[in-house]
């Protein structure tokens, strides 16, 4: 038998010998090989959900547009404060005032977009701060056994004092400003995140693979970052998705009560507080801020939920 014949034989009947094959997903699945990468599958899973991708697009478009809107608006927020002209009060939306004017005759367009921007900025900063503080403390709380009891007691005490006390005291003690508000919110907000993270770390820290890892002498930080952290990501993102609408809600509530940002900064709470008595006659005073802020919070909430589903390694495979 010649060499050529042998080769032909193998090609016709591959079970007789070895040959090079192209990568094929089905075959890979059958034999359990994968070119798995965590973040790659997160994004793949996320992109599969067309509605979530659309929501993400809307969210980013709104955020970007809030910057453009302030640039293309005919009035600047700072000059709008000065230019309160009673004769222009309650002008309905028109070519000059795109969102109309408020009760003092100030341009509403720049106020609404500025308020949206403030809300987003505050929410993102607070979410980031909460995340860093909460995850760090939560990991330590969950991993170090001897700390658990005392940390739980501390958590109980802080959690039993109404949030509004901290926020009111912070406003009175340190004054009302964007920075103080963000700091005050972070110092209260990390609690929930820390508790969630702690519960998960507690769940995964003694699984066999971690035990094995510890026996092999893996340093603690590596176990936390490489072995446990991927399981946390989905919960952390879910918490962030909730935290951002909550921060915006808390800001608007506090500002409405006069405990938030100072009165001259247009923010959602202050806009609605000013409009409270007028929006029955002039519905546009309610509709513009309500629609824009709701779009921001709802899209972010949905995107966060979808992303958190995608980030859960149990949904990968």
């Amino acid at each position: 038998m010649s060499e050529q014949n042998q080769k032909q034989n193998q090609n016709e009947n591959p079970s007789n010998g070895f040959e090079f094959v192209e990568y094929s997903p089905e075959a890979a699945e059958r034999i359990g090989y994968s070119d798995y990468s965590y973040w790659k599958s997160v994004f793949q899973n996320f992109l599969k959900k067309k509605s979530a991708v659309f929501m993400a697009f809307v969210f980013f478009a709104l955020v970007i547009f809030s910057f453009i809107a302030l640039k293309i608006g005919k009035y600047d927020y700072s000059s709008a404060q000065i230019m309160s002209d009673a004769s222009l009060a309650f002008t309905s939306p028109n070519g000059e005032f795109w969102f109309g004017t408020d009760n003092l005759g100030r341009d509403y367009w720049c106020q609404v977009w500025y308020a949206a921007q403030i809300s987003i900025k505050l929410a993102l900063i607070v979410a980031l701060g909460e995340c860093v503080l909460g995850v760090t403390i939560g990991c330590i709380w969950g991993y170090v056994r001897s700390l658990d009891r005392i940390m739980t007691e501390i958590y109980n005490v802080i959690n039993n004092i109404p949030t509004i006390i901290y926020m009111t005291l912070a406003a009175l003690l340190f004054g009302q400003s964007f920075r103080n508000m963000a700091i005050a919110m972070i110092t209260v907000g990390w609690l929930v995140m820390a508790r969630n993270v702690r519960n998960l770390v507690l769940m995964y820290r003694d699984r066999e693979y971690n035990l094995a890892s510890r026996c092999l002498g893996t340093p603690v930080w590596r176990i936390l970052v490489k072995n446990i952290f991927p399981y946390l990501i989905s919960v952390i993102i879910l918490r962030l998705a909730l935290s951002i609408p909550q921060t915006i809600a808390l800001e608007s509530t506090l500002s409405y009560l006069g405990l938030g940002l100072d009165v001259n900064t247009p923010s959602l709470g202050i806009l609605l507080r000013n409009a409270r008595n007028y929006f029955l006659q002039y519905p546009y005073l309610l509709i513009f801020p309500a629609v824009i802020v709701s779009l921001i919070t709802i899209t972010f909430y949905l995107v966060g939920n979808a992303f958190s589903d995608a980030a859960d390694p149990r949904n990968h495979v």
Partner: protein, 316 residues
């Protein structure tokens, strides 16, 4: 069980005491200028201010003040209000307000429970069909949109379409309570619908349900007799706490509709440096919170005999 209860109550007492102490100390961090009204700050001389503070015992060392505070607590003496209702005992100030908050809150909660659980059951029954999607959209809306915005929308709708009063008034309690109650119920409905649905869907996937269906039990009966009963157990845990917490009122809703209830009292008391009111309120809230959790656990145990509290060792 008795031993467990006593242990748990003692623990709660410590928690409440620690909370009261912390708030006591936090309030002492405020500059004493807040003791006076803006007028007084301008007019009074430093000496007069000092005299008044001295008379009120606010210049004593902090330890001494704290001991005095504990002494008063032992006698259940909560002191008098300074600025909210000058000279009135704190408990009386609270007494006139909490009934209003509780009436609104409890009505809203009962409505929310009925509608929310019903909505959740219907969503679980028609899972992944149009009704389910509408319910989910509602929960997302309520969770994501700031309450200030949704209250404003309710207010605009109620006033425009239904012609309801937009401010609470003592002369027309029934009609003017409708909008605040709707606002309070909005979030609770979403909460109960969401969790009822989730627990029911979890329960529906269990084997005994499959068996019941194979046996030929009617789907409706399975839903009511098995699924709802089992799904309700984890839900029930938070119900006593929710009812107790109606006493504390809702800050935003009550401010928004000018309800003279408990909600805005705490912030008012802090900003007016009415220390006795703040401390009493915080003690009440903390006690209610702790009690609510305890009652929730007891209720859950009564409903589901498999749950034994003592095993948990009060680890919350």
């Amino acid at each position: 069980m008795t031993k467990y209860t006593i242990k748990r109550l003692l623990q709660s007492l410590v928690t409440v005491l620690v909370v009261a102490t912390i708030v006591f100390l936090l309030m002492r961090m405020l500059p004493t200028d807040y003791y006076f009204t803006e007028d007084q700050v301008m007019k009074l001389t430093e000496e007069q201010k000092n005299d008044q503070l001295l008379a009120a015992g606010l210049l004593d060392p902090i330890g001494q003040q704290l001991l005095r505070f504990y002494g008063q607590l032992l006698h259940f003496d909560f002191g008098v209000s300074r600025r909210i209702q000058t000279g009135a005992p704190v408990l009386k100030v609270i007494g006139t307000k909490f009934a209003i908050s509780m009436r609104l809150g409890c009505t809203a909660l009962v409505i929310a429970l009925i509608i929310g659980v019903f909505l959740g059951v219907m969503q679980a029954r028609h899972k992944d069909r149009i009704f389910d999607h509408i319910g989910t959209a509602y929960t997302i809306f309520v969770n994501a949109v700031p309450p200030l915005v949704s209250y404003s929308l309710v207010l605009a709708f109620g006033a425009h379409v239904l012609n309801l009063p937009t401010l609470y008034s003592t002369r027309n309690v029934g009609k003017s309570s409708i909008l605040p109650i709707v606002c309070l119920a909005l979030a609770s409905i979403a909460h109960y619908a969401l969790w009822t649905r989730r627990y029911m869907v979890d329960e529906l996937n269990k084997d005994y349900i499959k068996l019941a269906r194979i046996k030929g039990m009617a789907f409706k009966d399975i839903m009511v007799k098995h699924v709802l009963k089992n799904a309700f157990v984890p839900l029930v845990q938070y119900i006593p706490a929710s009812f107790l917490m109606t006493i504390s009122g809702s800050l935003l809703a009550e401010r928004f509709f000018s309800v003279p209830g408990m909600g805005p009292l705490l912030t008012d008391a802090i900003t007016r440096y009415d220390l006795n009111v703040v401390q009493t309120l915080v003690i009440i809230y903390a006690a209610l919170g702790v009690l609510g959790v305890f009652l929730g656990d007891v209720l859950m145990m009564l409903l589901d005999p498999r749950i034994k509290l003592a095993d948990k060792g009060g680890s919350r």
